[in-house]
């Protein structure tokens, strides 16, 4: 990757913190699953799907506000609630899923949720800052007197990474629709076949 030593690479400054936050979700899931098994509380994990789903549904208020379906509520506060709510909700759903591979439908829903979380975090943590980073790099190389092709060559890999991230962002809404449909299928099947007692 071609960047100046002072500016640092896109990887170190932006993608690494993103990876760490995603890793924290994975680590919290594994640790929670381990603790539940150790304390013989596996049944708790079974019911964590309910509050997890409710948290994710509650966090959608931000999406409604953003698309002007509702007009009340501070967008910035709602965005924070959306980020925290979906992260925590996803953690609960992942604990609920555990590492038990039974039915296909809920696992597809879990995978869709995972992609949704990653794409959401790309939007939150990377996209804006990364765009600024690439623009700053371009300006920096131009000021150093590099020609336009030389500048493009210098920021090539950062620009490719940014382009990939932009595509990730576009995945967020369609994959949410898939997640919502698959999760609804799972929930309907539970209500249809489960004995609540």
């Amino acid at each position: 990757m071609t960047t100046s030593p002072t500016a640092g690479s896109l990887w170190r400054q932006h993608i690494l913190p993103f990876t760490l936050l995603l890793g924290l979700l994975a680590a919290a899931t594994l640790a929670g699953d381990f603790v539940l098994h150790r304390l013989n509380l596996v049944w708790v994990g079974r019911y964590l799907g309910i509050p997890g789903t409710l948290l994710i549904i509650g966090s959608l208020v931000y999406s409604l506000r953003k698309r002007k379906y509702i007009s009340s509520g501070n967008p910035k506060t709602l965005l924070t609630l959306h980020e925290v709510g979906t992260w925590l909700g996803s953690l609960m759903v992942l604990l609920h899923a555990g590492v038990h591979f039974n039915a296909i439908l809920p696992w597809l829903a879990t995978v869709a949720m995972g992609i949704n979380v990653i794409s959401g975090m790309v939007g939150k943590l990377l996209l804006g800052r990364s765009r600024q980073h690439v623009l700053g790099q371009r300006e920096h190389f131009q000021l150093r007197g590099l020609s336009r092709p030389e500048v493009e060559q210098a920021v090539f890999w950062d620009a490719v990474t940014l382009d990939a991230m932009t595509k990730w962002r576009k995945v967020h809404i369609p994959i949410f629709v898939v997640f919502a449909a698959l999760a609804s299928g799972h929930i309907v099947s539970i209500f249809l076949f489960w004995g609540w007692r």
Binding site: R46, N102, G195
Partner: protein, 247 residues
Amino acid sequence: MNRTVKIVLAANLIVFAILAFVYPHLMVGPGKLIPGHGKLEEDCFACHAPLSGADSPRCIVCHKPEEIGRLTTVGLPIDKPLTSTPFHQKLTRQDCVACHSDHAGVKRFRPTGHFNHGLLEKATRDECQSCHKSPKDTLHQQIRGNCSQCHNQEKWTPATFDHDKHFELDRDHNARCVTCHLHNDYSRYTCYGCHEHTPDNIRRKHIKEGIRSYENCVECHRNADEHDIRGEYGKREGKRDRKKHND
């Protein structure tokens, strides 16, 4: 979302919905059924009632309560019954899922081999030996029935037998059973199983006090407090009263 993405999404979801109806055991079933129920895997409603879960009346269609433990579901005698006495006929109500689960994913959350004795009729509940064999140790081999004297019906161990009535297992006597009860014989005990109470040591102390009959230790000693002495010697010397005054 553009129109193409919407169409692709809708097509995928329709495919998943069709698969859920054609292969429900793979798409929504929580794991495999027990081998005996393998043929029912694609027919969820053979066992499940809509919105209320696995349904006992549907189990009873194949598993007739009067035949459970005696005959198979096709009417053949059972070669090796799991219990010596059939007991499903003596249940107060037919609630199959109170004890049984089927899908592998559901079994994980249920304690296996745990039977709620409260589901049995009162008279049957007290006849433990009709289903359970006595343990092989010498203490239990001497006993017939009346298990509730020392055990409850929730779990066999720990026993509800109150050892403190006979001897307090306090901090000085926090020992393993075999230290005092040798050879798995709980009808006898010895106090010479530890270094503190050697025969010589005990003999010397008791002779010094003028006590010649000291073989049945718990007749006078019920705990580690050497001043809390019961039985004839305790009464004569007022040792118990003295302890009470000290308290």
